[in-house]
Symmetry: C2
Subunit: 450 residues, 2 copies
């Protein structure tokens, strides 16, 4: 039996995972709206036989537009362009279940799956935060529980639409004049608390059957959603024991939904700053930090915990008494917040120390290619990860170094592919082609062939 | 002063304007979901220095999936891919104001405009018909008047979002650490009957300032919408006097909104079947018709007038007594219906004759390249058109023949460009770069520089 291998995604967050990356000048200041920038990183990632590139997103202008690059291209159209410049690598676009309609979203991702030849994935998020809500007629974000209630039904509807054309529905018989077998094109007639959708989808079934579903929230609602529907979960644990706990819990939850847990891939994030030596890596990190100053790093912590930086003592531990109120979990990402609080509590970090340890929010490793490979292999073999979502400090160099120095090391250790063996993202991730739930009904079989 | 020149768009409707085009076998049966098919036609169109390619659309599976290719790729993602395969030609995507949110739509088109280097256009439609409504939680389509009320506010919001970053808002000063001039990035704070949207858009201002706005309905609501907001109007008149009346009316309406009427381009549709001789063109047409039979053509008329074919006498004139009820205008496109009724009334056509004259719904000319050029030139010089939206009988040959034989004839006559002289669709259409309405406010000038 072949050795199990890890999956790797490249998370292209603006100029890089470090907030000051744009100041360095590796990429033009306008990179966030430059399709060539993304195509370039995708080609480098494909050279490294990575599984996918990943784009985070939210439907609002975030951050301080004066000081930090803000405003980005919409991921489904951007990744359509990127797919035209690549042949194998998957493309994962984030889109909101709170601020979209399931019919339009299902169609756009099915189209991207057709255009990319089976490389599309949807990262389903619910979008905390009032700024997004205020672009869609609401005074503020719906409560967490309501967002996840809608998300669960949203994904259900999208799956039904993706399944509404069976794999063999399209016949295309010109001489006989028969385009499709109408008995294999299904109205879904969904009626639920949030949506009434008749269907069928107006795109025939796509190469992957269904585009890959990714889920990226670690709250209770996020875990329920991800374990029920997702093919892969992007997550945020910062310590190995937390990673192992999360991995075990999600596999158990998948089992409880009647799924084969191998069909649910757990992919923690990893922020990287890589140098030929530890000293070089640290210098690279210091150079980036210098643009922000320690106050800038502390401000990132303050933003995350929802307490103004002016009310914090940077050389003290976190104000634990103020962080017991459950309402702090309504303001943003539960997963990121919990991961940071757990790390700070476990290691008794000051705010200043936590700022240096976290930066983008994901677990951060500053070190040599071997050290990066060590920690990836450790988490992978210790039952904390099926793969990783890599967030380099800056692009393109952080991606190039990863591909040219970390990937070969992982290949030497036999835990990462040396070439693509298939053409779809499902294949890269080791996921089976799903049967349409309507075909499954007819065959009296479970809908998922896991 | 240079001679005024016409604009030409290529309308890629499935396998062609003739419903039987897919039966012939020039393109694979799966062309509607094949990005290479669209890229190929776009490259041919670009070889002919056409202004744009155009994709109609609606968010529902239309027609008889057993007999006619149904299900298509979503236009904004498809045209993003097409833009990667071309350098100059504009890309016009249809999207609904009834079944989208303005924030998401504004962002997707702004992204397409960035990715294509200023070649994006949005064809705003309201979508008659219940099938679309039933994919979005409604029992049936909203009334015409309500759809257009929403459409007017929808476009207003989209324009505000496209204007929310002024042209010079993005600074990108790395060394000074200043990304944008926040005073030139505007919340729009729109509050209206249908939408409350705070903004700003999360994409900086795009190369065209605003993507081009196209409008394609000829009802009263459509004419009000188009004359107020659109850069170009796709329309359906089938006789020259009707075309002249419509042209004059729309220019007058634009003036009444305080606009320069030159900023509103009128582009009627023209269905073409072209042969080296008239006889060859007729043979081509007969070959296509043979797949459908005369009953198939009559069925298209029946569908358009909303009366079952079984209740019609194909050798009689239209049942005028049954067509007086204004409710027939609620069921589908007012423009197409009126154009067909006017033609049939004027020429006293039977249903069978009307079926042969109309087919796709647009004015149809079967003839030689010279005859096609004659009618284009006639309408253009007689004040019935600033340009045309061409719908060939089938692809790719109908497009190739147009580009290789009609375009050279138009060039010889001096009414069509011999090369692209600019890089944006606005430039091709002869439209000025619009000023942001927020910049205009500051300068105490009208928002549009027409």
């Amino acid at each position: 039996m072949a050795q199990r291998q890890m999956s790797i995604g490249m998370n292209i967050l603006g100029h890089g995972g470090h907030a000051a990356a744009w100041r360095v000048g590796e990429a033009p200041p306008t990179a966030a709206i430059d399709v060539e920038y993304y195509k370039d990183i995708a080609r480098i990632s494909e050279r490294g036989t990575l599984d996918a590139i990943f784009l985070a997103d939210g439907p609002a202008l975030g951050g301080d537009v004066e000081r930090i690059p803000a405003g980005r291209l919409e991921p489904t159209v951007l990744l359509t362009a990127v797919a035209q410049a690549t042949q194998h690598i998957g493309v994962i676009a984030t889109a909101s279940t709170t601020y979209n309609d399931p019919f339009n979203l299902a169609r756009r991702f099915a189209s991207l799956d057709q255009i990319s030849g089976g490389r599309a994935a949807w990262n389903a998020v619910t979008n905390a935060g009032d700024a997004a809500a205020q672009n869609f007629g609401l005074a503020g974000a719906p409560l967490h529980v309501d967002r996840y209630g809608r998300a669960d039904e949203f994904v259900d509807v999208v799956f039904k639409l993706w399944d509404s054309w069976e794999d063999d529905a399209l016949i295309g018989d010109r001489s006989g004049g028969r385009y499709a077998d109408g008995s294999k094109v299904h109205e879904i007639n969904h009626v639920g608390a949030h949506f009434s959708v008749r269907g069928p989808l107006n795109v025939p079934r796509s190469p992957q059957g269904r585009p890959v579903l990714v889920q990226a929230g670690s709250s209770e609602g996020g875990k329920a959603l991800g374990s029920r529907w997702a093919d892969a979960i992007f997550t945020t644990q910062t310590t190995l024991p937390d990673g192992q706990d999360f991995y075990r819990e999600m596999k158990d939850r998948a089992r409880a939904w009647g799924r084969n847990p191998d069909g649910l891939k757990i992919m923690p994030g990893l922020s990287t700053v890589i140098g030929s030596t530890e000293a070089e890596a640290n210098r690279r990190c210091d150079e980036l930090d210098a643009y922000q100053g320690e106050e800038g790093l502390a401000a990132q912590v303050a933003m995350r915990i929802g307490i103004p930086v002016s009310e914090l003592d940077l050389d003290a531990e976190l104000p634990w008494d103020r962080l017991g109120d459950p309402s702090i979990y309504e303001k943003g990402s539960v997963g990121f917040l919990e991961a940071q609080l757990n790390l700070a509590r476990r290691e008794r970090l000051t705010i200043r120390q936590l700022g240096r340890r976290i930066r983008s929010g994901h677990r951060l490793v500053v070190g040599t290619p071997e050290q990066i490979a060590d920690t990836l292999e450790e988490w992978f073999l210790a039952g904390a990860a099926d793969g990783f979502n890599i967030m380099p400090d800056m692009f393109p160099s952080g991606c190039e170094i990863f591909v040219d120095h970390v990937v070969p090391e992982l290949r030497r250790r036999g835990v990462f592919r040396t070439e693509y063996t298939g053409s779809t993202l499902r294949h890269h991730l080791g996921l089976p082609h799903p049967l349409s739930q309507y075909a499954a009904e007819a065959a009296r079989e479970p809908a998922l062939s896991y």
